[in-house]
Amino acid sequence: MNSPIRTWRFHGGVHPADGKALSNSVPAQRAPLLERYTVAIQQNIGAPPKPVVQKGDTVKKGQLIAEPGGFVSAPVHAPTSGTVGDIVEVPGANGGAIPAIEIISDGKDEWGSGLDPIPNWKNTDREILKKRIADAGIVGMGGAAFPTHVKLSPPPEKVIDTLILNGAECEPYLTADHRLMLERTEAVLEGAAIAAKILRVDRVFLGIEENKPDAIAALNEKAGQYGVTVVPLHVRYPQGGEKQLIYALTGRSVATGGLPMDVGCVVQNVGSCAAIRDAVVEGHPLIERYTTVTGTPVANPGTWILRFGTTVEQALTFAGGVKARAAKVIMGGPMMGFAQTSLGVTVTKNSSGILLLQWKETAEYTSNPCIRCGRCVRACPMKLLPGPVSVMVESENYDEAEKNYVMDCMECGVCTFVCPAKRPLVQHFRRAKAEINAKRRAAKAKQA
């Protein structure tokens, strides 16, 4: 496919079986209203929000139920109108139990967000728009759940010249962003235009893998009006990694420990862009998202518009239940997602997919010694040395691992995917990152 701009090829990467055919041609469906939602209080990276409702309060759909606990934090809103129940514990997608606010639906589903629509955003002050995005609780919906208003507030010394929309959706099986770009094309582009206005940039790229030709065609039809350049990219995992996408579109590399803003870029997921548009033009806070419910055991794989607080079990019910015995339930995609031990896990702002795998599709391995074949080194998109670093971690030599940039690992899973010795490399790196972070926190606490 011809590209309108010069593109670059990031280092490494792999081509896993993508499994997208299961769900990419099914139009997204709105999930029916549930009687009860358990909305996780913390759905963002950063400070946990504080609940502002009491048990027994009546709330409207979109009403604030938890206010941000700091600047890097995002408020949470009621997914429907009804009464507030208890603060309950639900299993978290990353393990453990997390507090959640129970909302009992009254069946009316009445809006009452208290946010006025700003249809004339072109002539509105940037600060007002930014505040609206913060008030609507928008976070990065690609997976990291980093509050969007923070990304849109770069410090004045950083010059931002490019806004990048991440529509790559390189993770196998997931088709949520694909359906979103196809069905809500103008919402994505308008949200991007609002973000571009806030950042005062006129260079806006939308990176999309070329395995979504229908979405590319739909975007190209409208992109000109909103000043967005749609750039089809080669299909290669992890094309949608933030740093990989920046390199692919601009040829700029983010230095170790750096942020996209250091190279003049801000990256936003297309789902976040559509949410920005809804928050500004409609006055609707973020209470639902496109989530792919897929996998061979699912009766009707497809993409669903799920409100936050829906459990995995309910989402599977919408998709017709399961037709075959599932061995693994994953929140997210197969490469970076987290395997779950409970169906009570709830959909949150970063739940891009719910994936079920059958026993024959999963694998059980024994870790063998590194044979120094170097495949992980060739495949690592961050140009790290996964094999040698994993040996350092195995011998608990975290200082050496830190010197070898283990903190730059984004846990994309490419090294584990290619390793012929079946080493659980990503788990080693997560362990190292956890230990190094604990050490840094301890050092910081000592200083203070």
């Binding site: 399961v322 693994k328 169906l343 080693h428």
Partner: protein, 292 residues
């Protein structure tokens, strides 16, 4: 020919003598004076370099005892007899110390606790604990059973029996290495004289605890009602009052409904009842069975 041999032998001998004299001279001239007491004390210390005293190994601690007047009883691994000998060498009375031992506050071995998932990752507690579902056991407070503490123990006092870490008090020297390494914070140092413990660390809702484990503490407080001086609540958990521990017969007296309150020796025996065997593999993850 003979001359050559004699000359070369003579040269080598002369070189050897000169160098030997040089070494002897420098050894005397630049001798580092060490206190013989330090070496004597170091001989008496256990030499495991466990770091439990807070110094960088036994040699460092020995010099601290002699030069800085550190208290030898700071060594948790020394026996009282050894402390007395050290006191003899230094000429200072050693402080008395109570013998401590580590206790793993969990009774959830593989055969006595429920599993939530099949875990196929790194067999190490600290690595398992960062994965969702952390290691397979359903209880998120209990022992993971992958032996991080056993590997950390310099005295070989911790054994993994059927997926549960148990401490052998006769080997434990209370250095505290296992306490820091356990990701679930299950291990505490307590007086070795206490014969019974509450083997549960769960902060789950009491009604749920039974689903996960055969011997959970349900916080029914029956033991506390039996004798308030011996048992107490600590941060939501029922614990033996270690400043006034009860006798072993207290277990008979209380009749703990779940058996979480147990005599240490019996707890170890129960854990040993079922030998360690590989986790069952045949059934595809007992995770979900749903048909709608």
């Amino acid at each position: 020919m003979l001359i050559t041999i004699l000359v070369s032998a003579g040269v080598v001998a002369a070189v050897g003598l000169i160098l030997g004299a040089l070494i002897g001279f420098t050894a005397k001239k630049f001798e580092v004076q060490t206190d013989p007491k330090i070496e004597a004390v170091q001989e008496l210390l256990p030499g495991a370099n466990c770091g439990g005293c807070g110094y960088a190994g036994c040699a460092d601690f020995a010099s601290a005892i002699v030069t800085k007047g550190a208290d030898p009883s700071g060594c948790s691994a020394c026996s009282d007899a050894m402390l007395a000998k050290i006191a003899e060498v230094t000429g200072k009375a050693a402080g008395k110390k109570e013998k401590m031992t580590a206790v793993v506050f969990c009774s959830g071995s593989f055969s006595r606790s429920a599993r939530a998932a099949d875990y196929n990752g790194i067999l190490d507690c600290r690595s398992a604990s960062i994965v969702a579902g952390g290691g397979g056991k359903a209880c998120r407070f209990g022992c993971l059973g992958y032996g991080s503490c056993a590997r950390a123990c310099p005295f070989g006092a911790i054994e993994i029996r059927d997926g549960l870490a148990v401490v052998h008090p006769e080997l434990c020297r209370a250095c505290g290495k296992c306490v820091n390494v356990c990701p679930r914070k299950l291990i505490r140092l307590v007086p070795a004289s206490a014969p019974i413990h509450v083997y549960c660390n769960s902060l789950e809702k009491p009604a749920k605890r039974r689903k996960f484990c055969k011997n959970p503490c349900l916080a029914c407080k029956k033991c506390i009602r039996t004798d308030e001086n011996h048992m107490q609540m600590q941060a939501g958990l029922v614990r033996v009052n270690y400043s006034n521990p009860p006798e072993a017969s207290f277990v008979e007296q209380v009749k703990c409904p779940t058996g979480a309150l147990q005599v240490e020796e019996i707890h170890r025996k129960i854990a040993a009842l079922k030998p360690v065997e590989p986790a069952p593999k045949a059934a595809p993850a007992p995770k979900k069975e749903e048909s709608k």
